[in-house]
Amino acid sequence: MSMNSVGRPTTPQAETAAGGFASLTGGRGLLQDEVLIFEMGGWSKTGVDLPEASISADELGDLVRTDPIGLPGLSEPETMRHYVRLSQKNHAIDLALYPLGSCTMKHNPRLNEKMARLAGFADIHPLQPQSTVPGALELMDRLAHWLKTLTGMPAVALTPKAGANGELCGILAIQAAHKARGDDARKVVLVPTSAHGTNPATAAFVGYSVREIAQTDDGRVDLADLEAKLGPDVAAIMVTNPNTCGLFERDIVEIARLTHAAGAYFYCDGANFNAIVGRVRPGDLGVDAMHINLHKTFSTPHGGGGPGAGPVVLSEALAAYAPTPWLTYGPDGLVLQEEAIGEAAGAFGRMSAFHGQMGMYVRAYAYMRSHGSDGLRQVAEDAVLNANYIKATLSDLMSPAFPDGPCMHEALFDDSWLDGTGVTTLDFAKAMIDEGFHPMTMYFPLVVHGAMLIEPTETESKQELDRFVTALRALAQAAKAGDTDRFKGAPHLAPLRRLDETLAARKPKLRWKPEAPASMAAE
């Protein structure tokens, strides 16, 4: 079987381009070079038909902008073509498997998009009278009910705008709880060395110092180190479970017990909730706060980087410290409580304007309903099954970081198997592109040297997994056979070859600027 029938070239003219053929115009066949909108010359154009205003801006006097803004306009056909051409230079989950560890990329059903665009959800204002949006409040309440039930936690704050924003919410709630009981001595947050970078960044951002907890040889939190570092100065521990090594923290209940005994709270990074949804409730493990990345577990689309949504479930101990606004039941039904009053005044305030990511709530809820209680349990089972299948079928060629026992939703390898081949982890990842797959997560988690983290998710079929495994095995064999050119020059078949990231950082060019006229350049 030839390589190209296994992988999928990402451009129509890939083989000729790889053969060193150069087109006369710089494009690669039907995949054309696309200039920036600022280079199209549309300085006097607009692609929107608007009526002429019948007034001038006289009343605004000297507040009126007189300088040229510097924005080109495109007609509608030019706009369509420009952005559709750009879209063709992107990989996406709808094209193929996205084996990113810890950043779940699963199928994004278009039903969710359709529902989020219903005028009754998309075309409502956050501050129109609550009496005119009972359906929106009901949707938020149903989403909250599902999240609380799935996690076994009594309260949820819906408003955080992304996973990291949810972490911030959880840590702020913990800070508020300590403050409420007059405990001002707690200045430290414990974070395992394997944690997502957002965990220490979040703790530091609100004034905590971060103390790292070591990891055992089998990839879990070192209990002895944890005990040694817990004390009256510790406000919280932040643990990801399943963790970033793709493993379930076996001692999680004990971690929670020790943390609580020391007077601290247990924050769980719920980024990997998709591995256990429907099978394990974090509330049963002793968690006090956990954010849920809706895009990961409930498939809201990643959109090239966002928007996200990061609701936070809270234990009884922290429930009173949820940020505003929250839902309550009034005599006339659901009410969105927009200001903390009475006992709730101990809450820490507001995370952002308005009520959070409504558009994401609709998508996530549609996904939950589409699966139901039984289906979500199947989600976790299939996610874990698929990851273990990857691990089992690649372990003879690549080196699993934790060979003993099953993994959860992602399979972690290290790069020791590449020793002596002259191929780096980065080279290998870029070569995956030539085979039609997005690279796996590399160099993370930091505790594993040359980490290669693969998460297939539950929406991949066995056939697709087999295609992926076949491609990776072929690549691994090529690396071991000394075919280094294949790797050093990779990717060969992408819209662009390997990009110079060092240059971009050394001489940051963060916006387009008009070329200086030739006469000025000559001076």
């Binding site: 920036l36 692609g47 608007l50 006097g61 000297d62 902008r65 306009g73 879209s87 063709q88 992107n90 990989h91 996406a92 989950i93 959800f121 075309d123 409502i124 204002h125 956050p126 501050l127 009278p129 005119t132 009972p134 990291a164 702020l172 997502h196 970078g197 220490p200 960044a201 530091a204 609100v206 999680i252 429907g278 394990v280 409730r281 049963d284 493990l285 959109g303 980087g305 928007p307 820490f348 304007a353 009520h355 959070g356 990511q357 409504m358 558009g359 994401m360 039984d374 874990v384 099954l385 691990k391 089992a392 099953p406 690279p439 819209p495 662009l496 390997r498 990009l499 990231e501 963060l510």
Partner: protein, 447 residues
């Protein structure tokens, strides 16, 4: 289960390949006490038709802005979005792609971000912009934290014209981090009070224009006063369309400009997702939060784009990062950029003037109603009026009559003693007939 491709036979074969006797064997590390025996107490799966029916029924219980005369603003604005915008952002390659960490196969997203950053810098009159933040309010909070890092000072002065939700968002972050905030009393047009509040501890002043009462202000003097005292000037704008008509933050001396970008390309969405615009002077960029996209070349010397200056970011710097943010509002920024590309400078200026025109018409109409006093002297598309009855009651009464009349200031800030103040906004989506209906109904309710 239409989203799950594995068949029972696949599962059996795969368990065999793994060497596991059952799926439970893969969950062996979970403490027995924590494993659920069966499904949690929630409904079973629903087919596509059933989900559409349920959500359709919920959506139908809400009054959509487009179905009535609609005058709400206060930080979220209803504008017409060309059909091509939503079509393009729903293309799989944009909608279902990941953060562009592998630039060779994410040039679509990256070039869009580069165009977005250029547009935002131009609109705000600043040197550089980032690839977007969550929304305007969180961007304001990040700007205050950044100013505190840059100046090594720990007090922020918040103008009385700053949107109360933005005030609360800034306070949440600042107080947790030990940065003090001084919020000035709400005032229609009292930005000079900001100058008086500046002292040697001031890290930054945060001024909104047009402010929450709609007042458009030239903040040049405030910027000069802040900078003379060694503080940074942060200018907040909640209505991005105003950049088409009003002097930019950069032109007025801002060090950091933040804005809500929802107005361009994005729907109301009941408050989110929105898109935070963040721009600053070039010398500050290494202290900026969030993602940045930069230009570079590939191995063949062809122009390309990558995420850059990531040594500021949490995945590299961990507890020393400039923020904990690891995402942006990518898809909303894409919508912004497409809509902005369609408008161009010509279209944006026209759109802005149309907004101003409809708001002026609304002001004249409402000003003629007995019991209405227009408070805002100079405004873009939004203004405050004082009513002869509590604004919240009037808004409810008008909602019952099929008019969404605006936002009572007390909804944003119940303790300001401004219960009779109503914030009214008119965009290009408001027709002359809507204005006439609003006027007639308001006159009856106030009579």
């Amino acid at each position: 289960m239409r989203y799950l491709p594995l068949t029972p036979d696949d599962r059996r074969q795969m368990l065999g390949a793994i060497g596991a006797g059952s799926i439970d064997a893969l969950f062996v590390d979970v403490p027995k006490s924590a494993v659920l025996d069966g499904p949690v107490d929630l409904p079973g799966f629903a087919g596509e038709l059933e989900v559409e029916r349920e959500l359709g029924a919920l959506a139908a219980r809400n009054v959509a802005a487009g179905s009535v005369p609609f005058f709400c603003g206060a930080g979220a604005y209803r504008h017409h979005v060309p059909a091509s915008v939503d079509h393009i952002i729903q293309r799989s390659e944009f909608l279902t792609s990941y953060t562009p960490y592998q630039p060779e196969i994410a040039q679509g997203t990256l070039q869009v971000l580069f165009e977005f950053q250029t547009q935002v810098a131009a609109l705000t009159g600043m040197d550089v912009a980032n690839a977007s933040l969550y929304d305007g309010s969180t961007a304001a909070g990040e700007a205050v934290m950044m100013a505190s890092r840059v100046t090594r000072r720990s007090k922020a002065i918040l103008s009385g014209g700053l949107h109360p939700h933005y005030v609360q968002t800034v306070e949440t972050l600042a107080h947790a981090a030990g940065v003090a905030t001084e919020r000035l009393a709400p005032a229609i047009d009292a930005e000079d009070a900001v100058i008086a509040a500046i002292d040697g501890d001031t890290a930054c002043v945060v001024v909104q224009t047009p402010n929450v009462f709609g007042t458009a202000t030239d903040v040049t003097k405030i910027a000069a006063a802040a900078q003379a005292a060694g503080a940074l000037m942060i200018v907040v704008t909640t209505e991005a369309v105003s950049f088409g008509l009003l002097k930019s933050p950069g032109e007025m001396g801002a060090d950091i400009a933040v804005a809500e970008g929802q107005s361009i390309g994005n729907a109301l969405n009941f408050g989110g997702p929105y898109v935070g615009l963040f721009a600053c002077k070039e010398k500050l960029v290494r202290q900026a939060p969030g993602r940045l996209c930069g230009e570079t070349v590939d191995a063949d010397g062809r122009r390309g784009f990558v995420l850059t200056l990531s040594t500021r970011e949490q995945h590299i710097r961990r507890d020393k990062a400039t923020s904990n943010i690891c995402t942006n509002s990518g898809l909303c920024a894409l919508a912004f950029t497409i809509h902005m590309s369609l408008l161009g400078e010509v279209g944006l200026r026209k759109l802005a003037l149309l907004n101003h025109q409809q708001a002026l018409k609304t002001k004249i109409a409402l000003g003629s109603v007995k019991g209405v006093e227009v408070l805002t002297p100079r405004f873009f598309n939004e203004f405050a009026v004082k009513l002869s009855k509590p604004a919240a009651e009037v808004v409810e009464a008008l909602a019952a009559r099929g008019v969404l009349a605006g936002v009572p200031y007390s909804r944003l800030d119940p303790h300001a003693g401004l219960d009779d103040v109503l914030l009214v906004c008119a965009t290009e989506t408001v027709t002359d007939g809507d204005i006439e209906t609003f006027k007639t109904q308001l006159a009856e309710v106030l009579a």
